[in-house]
Point group: C2
Chain length 124, copies 2
């Protein structure tokens, strides 16, 4: 992995979560995630490009208009990343949820594995 690619990779990662257009989202996923990638958080599980795409579509159904954003610097070493995120409701009030993602980048510079952890959930 070229280290200068890390911000772009993380930008694309968030763009995927927020992309409503199914065709654009599939292209972004193919450019950003390995074929054998996995995603795990306390509520969601997905594997591979189709699984990741279906997961994001499902989140859009449940949280229409919400947007995920990077919420701090990207900490990176040895092809492993840590970065904070927040989920903003359409009215742009306080974050509906915040957490930290941990990612493993493969030798081709794409995401091989992402694990999400939650720090705060509004109303929880």
């Amino acid at each position: 992995m070229q280290m200068q690619d890390t911000p772009t990779l993380v930008e694309r990662y968030f763009a995927i979560w927020n992309e409503q257009d199914a065709g654009k989202r599939r292209d972004l996923i193919a450019a950003t995630w390995s074929e054998d990638a996995d995603y795990r958080d306390p509520r969601l599980t997905s594997d591979g490009h189709e699984g990741i795409d279906a997961m994001v579509a499902q989140v859009h159904e449940h949280y229409p208009g919400y947007r995920f954003r990077l919420a701090g610097p990207v900490d990176s070493h040895n092809g492993r990343l840590r970065f904070a995120w927040q989920l903003n409701a359409p009215d742009d009030g306080p974050p509906a949820a915040t957490g930290v993602d941990f990612a493993v980048v493969g030798e081709d510079g794409r995401l091989r594995s992402v694990t999400g952890f939650f720090d705060t959930i509004a109303g929880a």
Copy 2:
């Protein structure tokens, strides 16, 4: 992985970092880490039982009497762990370093991969 094993696994993980006795440390490593395990942080890299043992011995040489401690709850889902740690100097003053470890647990309940991230380093 049995979820009730997670605290014990993390306790053993810290015990290894703090174990001065080479024989006891090797036994703890074999019980706690997979044969093909890896450890990565911004400064240290090790692979396999012998590599992990050599890494810990090297840290003891550079930081004699320092101790690693769990510094919060263990966040766990899907066999993936997140927990904060601190490194205390022998005089028990403010932590010499703090950070967060992210771990992947294998199907046999042992650590397969641990990635350390630093949050604060005294004097840095």
